[in-house]
Symmetry: C2
Subunit: 779 residues, 2 copies
């Protein structure tokens, strides 16, 4: 990476007022980390929580399988794989790190020479408008991306605001035709028919507006845009790859050439420019989910009268401000990983609202956000674990709005449900559980401003929808039977945790009846637990256990993205109870130890999704979120120091400053949030409690800005791979005698000091009262 160029760009653009520290943080970010294989992050330009993620797509073309074009659901979630050698173009919307794909809206590609109105293929790029490129010419920094498109000799530079993508293309001086392709048919997760309808209206010789509706992972996703070119085009046209059924009276216009009202199903437009002596062309593209008018308002408000340089500098400054929430010391690679992780936690969820407050709700109607900012892209099965809890420390204002956005989703839901996995005004129901519930509970516990009665209503409603995830049977039997649901055991365990957060919320609100109901439900994990084996196990409707049980099997055993061995530890709400079910302290420790150390041949993981081989430690699969709390479970045992060993192993092995540096999907920042928490030395094992289980800090110094003038300094002098063990902990000089920190302790700020050493301090153990929360502790 050559960051010097970008730095000079930003300095030129007036970013020189940023302090040395601010530059330092933003300079550490390496957006290329995890852009290969499973990370599914994108290298392009965005600002914190902006809906625009303007990034190169290296391939998204459907597979041709037996003559039928099938969408690529997985590999190109971010549109980009570092291994590729061609760029199709630059589209404006991307998920960050997901395990399923969509978006890639409004693709722009600069070309020269012969007119090509199809993207070509990776194996035959000359057949279409795509271009070869080399990573040598690629610059990716927060809010800025640059690459040379070798086939055309065009330099592409990208930056963004929250709702506007900003492009600069520099054509070769001798280009015969300087052209922009606007491919309204390009999409991530594309297939023949994904675009339900598209419109491009030529307002004048340098302004377009339009929209498209796609049927992808989001069943109906509306993307409106407004586009302004810095110079006029002198000719334009389009092709509709899906020949319209009927042109009727439009046919008389020869509408494929210079006719300003372009609509169709699979349209690809082109715009030809005579750039004269200055071969640069700037393009600003405002997005909206509401209207072209909203898109234009967004463009004008955020980028209207600013230069590319100004916008790039502002984007960088926004990142600098947000990233500066953490100061840290460490090696270059460590700081790159830390700040890139922080960067990844600040992309999704994303603002889904026009500057005037209008947004498209889950009911596909247009609403006005009163007193809050509406957000979308909630990957809650992943992010309730660490990302959303992290926001309760470092991103509280936004989290207030995100919680409000979830409550609006609930109000607009025909199911009367909080979001499960939602994006762009749609619910896709990915994964299992109702994990918006612990997000709300955690926010309430941690003092985020929430309409509590509405939140509790939404939590109860979301957890009692009979047709959702076999809740009918769950409520009748106390577990989700395997014969009704192939992931029934996972469902039961996850529902039970979510139910505990409802119990806790209701209890704190004095709603005894609800609390009693959900306390019972919180213990339902027992109903899918085979005490004889000490393992979670799928169960049939008649109460009998699944036959031919394979505790390590990841398919067909009643579990989702994990096996029984891993899922058996998924009782964050009642680890003491779980310990008892597993045979007590020693047996529990043995099971934990063996999870991380058991030998399994590579072939065993051949069918495991979402992780690279580096993401596996014994039978522990870090890339799938199910297990991410497990290393912290030693806190409930007589050997808490083992957490300190394993979390550092995971940090070192599974997060690396390179293209393969993410061992699994980043999942909208969840993997990265785990990194941040673990680096700080504590982790929210059970969101909804006010406790963070203490692990071991990764770096000698971190300072976390808590807002309101407060900060928490975390010191761990001489911490290293060798000195990985915590000898003692003090907060503002007072010894911490518990295995956890409370939210109030953290938010009170001051100095959290860890004394580290090369050997475990085996005297630092905890009485049951000093251990973290367990539902049945003391019962």
């Amino acid at each position: 990476m050559n960051k010097t160029l970008c730095l000079s760009l930003c300095l030129l653009a007036g970013a020189a007022t940023l302090s040395a520290q601010q530059r330092s943080a933003v300079d550490q970010v390496n957006p290329i980390i995890g852009t290969n294989k499973m990370g599914h992050v994108f290298p392009g330009a965005c600002v914190p929580h902006g809906i625009v993620a303007l990034s190169p797509d290296t391939d998204t073309i459907p597979h041709n399988i037996d003559g039928v074009y099938q969408p690529r659901a997985y590999e190109y979630c971010a549109g980009y794989q570092h291994k590729d050698s061609t760029i199709v173009g630059f589209s404006h919307t991307h998920f960050s790190g997901t395990g399923h794909s969509d978006l890639g809206d409004i693709l722009i590609m600069p070309t020269t020479g012969a007119l090509k109105l199809n993207p070509g293929t990776a194996t035959d790029p000359d057949a279409g408008y795509r271009s070869r490129f080399s990573h040598d010419t690629e610059i990716a920094t927060p809010g800025y991306y640059e690459v040379m498109l070798d086939d055309y000799g065009v330099k592409a530079q990208l930056t963004a605001t929250e709702r506007t993508g900003v492009h600069r293309y520099t054509y070769p001086a001798d280009a015969d035709t300087s052209r922009i392709i606007l491919d309204m048919n390009h999409a991530i997760y594309n297939y023949d028919g994904k675009v339900l309808w598209a419109s491009v209206q030529v307002v004048n010789d340098s302004t377009l507006v339009g929209y498209r509706i796609t049927n992808g992972w989001a069943r109906a996703n509306y993307t409106y845009f407004a586009m302004k070119f810095s110079k006029p085009f002198n000719n334009y046209g389009y092709i509709d790859h899906k020949k319209p059924k009927y042109m009727g009276h439009l046919a008389k216009f020869k509408p494929n050439r210079n006719f300003p009202d372009i609509q169709g199903r699979q349209i690809v437009c082109y715009f030809d420019f005579d750039l004269g002596n200055d071969p640069t062309l700037d393009i600003k593209v405002g997005l909206s989910a509401v209207s072209t008018e909203g898109a234009m308002k967004n463009l004008e408000a955020e980028a209207g009268n600013k230069t590319f340089e100004q916008i790039a500098a502002e984007a960088r400054a926004k990142w600098a401000k947000e990233l500066n929430v953490i100061e840290a010391e460490g090696s270059d690679d460590q700081l790159a990983m830390l700040y890139t992780s922080l960067y990844h936690t600040l992309i999704n969820p994303s603002v889904y609202m026009d500057v005037d407050g209008q947004y498209r709700g889950l009911d596909q109607n247009i609403h006005k956000a009163e007193g809050f900012t509406n957000y979308t892209i909630f990957s809650l099965w992943d992010t309730y674990r660490a990302l959303m809890p992290l926001y309760n420390i470092i991103n509280r204002e936004r989290n207030t709005d995100m919680v409000e956005s979830m409550l609006k989703h609930y109000e607009q839901s025909i199911h009367h449900a909080l979001p499960v996995w939602s994006h762009m005004g749609n619910e896709n129901f990915c994964m299992i559980g109702y994990h918006a519930v612990p997000v709300l509970a955690d926010a309430i516990t941690k003092g985020i401003k929430v309409d509590k009665p509405l939140a509790l209503e939404a939590m109860v409603s979301s957890s009692t929808i009979p047709y959702y995830g076999n809740l009918k049977e769950y409520m009748e039997l106390g577990y989700v039977p395997f014969d009704k649901n192939p992931t029934g055991a996972s469902n039961t365990l996850e529902y039970a945790f979510d139910d505990w957060t409802i119990y806790n919320t209701a209890k704190n609100m004095g709603k005894t009846e609800i609390a009693d109901t959900y306390k019972k439900r919180a213990l339902n994990y027992r109903n899918t637990f085979d005490k004889n084996l000490g393992l979670a196990r799928a169960r049939y409707s008649d109460g009998t256990w699944k036959k031919d049980f394979h505790p390590l099997g990841t398919h067909g055993e009643g579990f989702l993205e994990g096996n029984s061995w891993n899922y058996s530890f998924y009782v964050p709400q009642d680890v003491e109870g779980l310990k008892a079910y597993m045979g007590g302290d020693k047996r529990f420790i043995q099971k934990l130890d063996s999870l991380f150390t058991m030998y399994l041949p590579d072939e065993f993981f051949a069918e495991t999704e979402d992780v690279t081989r580096e993401g596996i430690l014994g039978n522990y699969v870090h890339g799938n979120e199910v297990s991410q709390h497990i290393p912290y479970l030693y806190a409930w045992t007589s050997e808490p120091w083992k957490t300190q060993y394993w979390v550092r192993e995971i940090m070192n092995k599974m997060y690396q400053n390179n293209i393969d540096g993410l061992c699994g999907n980043d999942d909208c920042g969840q993997m990265s949030a785990w990194y941040i928490f673990t680096a700080m030395g504590f982790y929210p094992v059970a969101p909804g409690t006010d406790q963070y289980v203490i692990g071991a800090p990764y770096l000698p110094y971190m300072k976390v800005n808590l807002g309101d003038g407060k900060s928490l300094t975390i010191r761990a002098d001489k911490v290293s791979d060798k000195n990985r063990y915590v000898q003692s902990v003090t907060l503002n000089g007072e010894p911490i005698k518990t295995a956890y920190l409370t939210h109030n302790q953290i938010m009170g700020g001051g100095e959290l000091n860890f004394v580290m050493g090369p050997k475990p301090n085996k005297k630092r153990t905890f009485t049951p009262e000093q251990r973290p929360y367990s539902l049945t502790q003391g019962e």
Copy 2:
């Protein structure tokens, strides 16, 4: 028709307060007139200018042509052909009398017995959910429709408000299952893929909301609905005839049964009811182009707490009030034809706006109508002639809003053009010319409140779009060359007339420069007129005339929906100039005479569109609007009485009180407006002037309510087929010495008295000064 039933219904419902006169007018209407063959009107329920036209569709299924389903563009414009013997169901939107089709949105059909989720075919109705029916059970009156669905024994009753369709279905007492089919895939002008996307959300056990987007004649038409059943359904489901590409995580729901979030491309839903002892089910369906929220608001505001009987009575009362604008005496058939014509003039254009003022604009964005009501369905090539002028007499308030709606269309148009043929926020560019221009000019001339500077700007802009209808060449050459445009001669003639209205408007506003430009353009008819032949003739770019010219040919001669012979009379702005071009008074009269009397064999009209054989008189084709002013052109000659002969011939022959009673498409009321004007005894030959050319009244007595307490009584004692000739005319006792009446004379009210006789009064001729306006008169 059995009207007794409906009358009793309405009396029961409280309509007894209506006066005898009001009942009389509404009772005369026979909505079945013109429902066979070419009339293309629908028999169902609507209120004046309501967007809901809830009517039975007897067939709309695409033709299977060589295995490819092609839309039926023409025959089923209104969804209904009287000759058919099955009803597919009842859909909520229909054009009235058009020559191209679309709509048929949100079809409901009650069924019993086995579940069928496809419509079946006319030849095999049992294969689907459609039902046989008999016209014997059909009742059609303004605002009310009833029919027995014989296959199910279900009585269907329909009524409507402006934005809400109201259904009542009475099932047989012994029905096994009382079911409602909601076919979101049904459409008029349907084909595989017309529905881009559809959504049905089950709000509760008696409420649905949803929408669909179609790509038909309107390129993207958004129809949202809210639906309330009077009783709960106990089971529901759907089929998607276009299997979704990807169900993803939705698959786990078995979403085809009782899953409340139904979305897809070709979905047909069903709802099962247990009706208990009362076998009636009422359904209210609110429509909106904005949102489901808007649809529900519309439903609640207009029909929320009203019974079917109340709504039916109110619909009838609304019609009674509007129809009462004219009192008349005549035979039953004459009054049926008069009031049915009036009824047909009050259907389109239609309100296209929610009760809260929100509407979908031409730019497909949502707008708020401030201070006006937004209308859609403008078939302007047809309706600028007589329908819109009629509104300047009897429907002025609505016309003010319609003009404002056209100006909003202009402001939202990417072409900066007034509507040509627009519906549902779309422009389809049907036919030729820019005839919104004379509509605006006529409204301004006749004192409708219009933003004149904006109107003139819109008129000039609409007439100078270089890529529209070869205006580039028209502006360069003074005519549209045949080698560029196959209907160039027609285009030239129509542009020239429209241009005259711009000239006149600009002149009256003191805009001399614009007036001068457009006066020249108004004379462009000369450029396509072969003086040697005395006929309009197509011309090539090089100025030479079309070779192999066939003046009677209707195809390939440069004319649209007409031949040279008819189109040669299309110079309403300068009949004196035309006369001169045709060789003077005698030659002009000869040409007119021969138009009506020449013998042409039936085969000659085999390929003539839009008309029945009854719609032809010699070479005069009344069903195509081009010629409708021609009978009045005798007013500019020495034999004005010939108008009196021919208009009565046309009235008698081409408008009849039966299913075939319209000789061509009613074209959103244009054919009917011609009837009303002609019945009154005058006609707006050149909209944009303040003159109505006097013909001969058809009835002995008419009284037209002009608003503001004024009325115009038109008396023609003893008028009959025999006494068809005007002997003299007085207005309020003063003799009318001109061949025309002015708008002020008419709007001043009083009594217009015609003395009729069996022979022409050949002394009643007119000096050039007494004749109607001609641009070059006196030059």
